[in-house]
Symmetry: C2
Subunit: 390 residues, 2 copies
Amino acid sequence: MQNFTFDNPTRIIFGQGMIARTGGEVKRFGTKVLLVYGQGSIKKNGIYDQVIASLKEADVSVVEFPGVRSNPVLSHALKGIELARSEKVDAVLAVGGGSVMDTAKTIAAGVKADPGDDVWDFFTFKKKIKGALPVVTVVTVSASASEMNPGAVMTREEGAQKFAISSPFIQPRTSVLDPTVLYSLSPAYSAYSSVDIITHMLEGYFNNREPESPLQDRLVEGLMKTVMENTEVILKDQRHYNARANVMWSAILAFNGLTTAGMGFVSFPAHMIEHSLSALYDVAHGAGLSITLPGWMSYAVNKSPAKFARLGREVFGIEEADDLKAAVEGIDRLKRWFSAIGSPTSLKEAGIPEGDIGKIAENASVIAAVWGMKAYTRETIAEILNLCRG
Amino acid sequence: MQNFTFDNPTRIIFGQGMIARTGGEVKRFGTKVLLVYGQGSIKKNGIYDQVIASLKEADVSVVEFPGVRSNPVLSHALKGIELARSEKVDAVLAVGGGSVMDTAKTIAAGVKADPGDDVWDFFTFKKKIKGALPVVTVVTVSASASEMNPGAVMTREEGAQKFAISSPFIQPRTSVLDPTVLYSLSPAYSAYSSVDIITHMLEGYFNNREPESPLQDRLVEGLMKTVMENTEVILKDQRHYNARANVMWSAILAFNGLTTAGMGFVSFPAHMIEHSLSALYDVAHGAGLSITLPGWMSYAVNKSPAKFARLGREVFGIEEADDLKAAVEGIDRLKRWFSAIGSPTSLKEAGIPEGDIGKIAENASVIAAVWGMKAYTRETIAEILNLCRG
C-alpha cells in the first residue's frame, strides 16, 4: 500500500424526498445562487419545482443558467462564469448529471480565476485552480461520481479537446441524491450510466502502481457485482427503488477515491480514448466506454493476465484454471454483458468509421500527453482502436 | 435502502513518515495544543519525539496531558477539560489508540460545555453536545476507528458505567496514520484489535433494519477477509508493512459509517455487553468482544439463520446447504479463529466468575436502556452471557 491522503468532505444526503433539503444546504453559503441545469428535462419530471420550492423556503434567490448539453462545452461554461460574476452569486447549484455538475464546477472555479486568466489553462494544467465558489449538487443522472469528487470534464470546441480538471476547491460541499429521480431515466441511459460506473472502477483495478491490493480488489468486485445485478433489475423495472438506490450509491463509491486509496498513480486509458470519441462524434460517454474498455482490456491482457483472470473468476464465476484463458473469457463475458444491456461494443456499432482511427488516435494522444500517460503514443492508441473495430 | 446522510469530513493522512505532517495540520486551528496521550509508551517507541518535532517545526506550543489508561475514565478526562480551559488551548491532539482519542474527544466537547454542565450528561443523552475544540489524532493502536468517526466511549468509575457519545463536533478534523507505529504493538493487542474491527463490521451486518443490503454485505465480507488474512500475517511477522497497513485502513472503513450507510438504526449488542465486562473487570476491550460476539451470535442465530449462513459461506467457504447448519458452523469457525489468534472466547478463559452473570447483566441492561435497545432486558442479557460461559 502506498502513502495517500483521503479527504472527501462532501456531505451526502441520500433518499426519497431529500430534495427538500437543498435550500437549507445552499443557505449555508449565502442567499443568492446560480442554478445550473441542462435542456429542461428537470421541468418535465418535477425536479425543478422541488428544487425551486426548497430554495424559496430557505429564502435563497435564484439566477438561472440552463442549457448545458451532454459532453459540455467550454464556451457555455464561460457564459456561466460571466453571469455568476455579474450577478455576484454566493454559490453554484448544479441540478443534473455529470455534464451539469462539471459545468457548475468549471463556473465555480472560473469565477475565482484571476482577471485575464484563460480558464482552459486549468484543463491543460498550465494554471492551478486557487479557489472556487461553493458547489452544491442535486443529482439526476448517476454515473460520474462528480457529486463526491474533485473532478470535472469539459470539451473545448476549438480542436475538439475534451480535458479534465481536479481540485479540492470544486468538490461539492453537499450533494443531494433521491433515487426516485432516476425513474424517468431511459433504459439506454441507465445502461450507459452503469458502463461508466464499471469503467471507473476497473480503470483503478487494472491501472495502478500497487501490485497487491486485496482490499481494493474486493471493494471493486463487490461494487461491480452490485451494479451489474441491479442494472439488470432496472432494465426490467425502471421504478425499482432499491435497485436505483443501490446503483446510485455504488456510482459514488466507485469513483470518490475509496477504491484507489493507497494505489498510487492510476491512469485512465479507456476514458482517455473515449474522450476523443465523444469529442469528435455524437456518442454518449457511457456508450463510448463500452467500446474502449473491452478494446483496451484486449490490448492489455497479455501483459498481466493474472489480474484480468481474477476479475473473470470473482465477478463472472469463471472456473478456468489457466490465467490467460480465464482472462480472455472474462473480457468476453463483460463485452457480452455490455451488449445485453444495450450499450455498443464496437466502433462499427456506434457508426464510427474505421477509416477515422488515425484521426481519433491523434486526438487522444494529446489527452494522453496532458494526463502524463507516456506509454500511450499515437501508434499504441491506434492499436487499441483497432481492437475496438468489432 | 433507507434514507441516510453520509458526512465524514475527516482528512486521513496515511503512510510511512506521515507523522511529520501533524504540526501543519494542528496549525490550521491555532498555535497552542493540548497533547493527550497514555502511559508513556509513545516515549519509548519514538512517536512522541516525532510528534513534538513536527509541532515545533510548525510553531505550535504544547500543553501535555498524559496518563490516559485503557478503558478511559471520566475523572481523568475532567482534569483534562480543566487544564485545556485554564491553558486556553486552540485544539486537542490525541496521540494513541481508542482510549486516548476518546479522552481527547471528551475533553474537546467538555471545554465547550456550558458552565455548570455535567459532562456525563452527554453520555446519558440528557444534554446535547453543542460544540467542541478541533480534534486531531495520531493513531498508535488501530481498531476503534475513532480517528474517523464521531464517537467516544468513556467509563464513569461511580457505578462502573461505560457509555458512549456521538457528535459531529468531536469528529477528528485530521487523523495521521503511519502503519510502522504498529510494529511495536504486541501480538495479544494486535489480535484484540482485529477482534474489535471484525465486531464493528458484524454488528452492522447482523443488526440493522434493512433486510436486503447486498452492497454493504459485500463490503463487510471483503473487509473481514482482508482483516483476517492480514492479522495472520502480522502474528507471524509483526513488522510486515503491507499487512499492518491493510488492517489499519480496514479498521477505519469498518466503522466510519460506510458499511452501514442506508441500513437504518444499527444496534450493538456485543459491544453493549462487553462494555460491562471491561467496566467491571480488567479485560481488554477486544478480548471482551471475542467472548460476547460469538455468544450473542449463538443467541441470535435461530431467529435469522440465513444471514449467519451467508457469513459462513462467503467468509469461511462453508459449503453446507442447510442455512442453520451453515450458520452454526460459521459461528464455530469464527470462534475458533478468535482462539487461534490468541483472544479468549469464554468468560471462564478471561477469569470472569460464572456467578457474576447476574451482576454483569444488571450493569449491561442500563447501557441497553440508554442505547434504545429495548429487547435487551436483564434476563435476555443473562441468557446471552450464559452462552458465553465456555
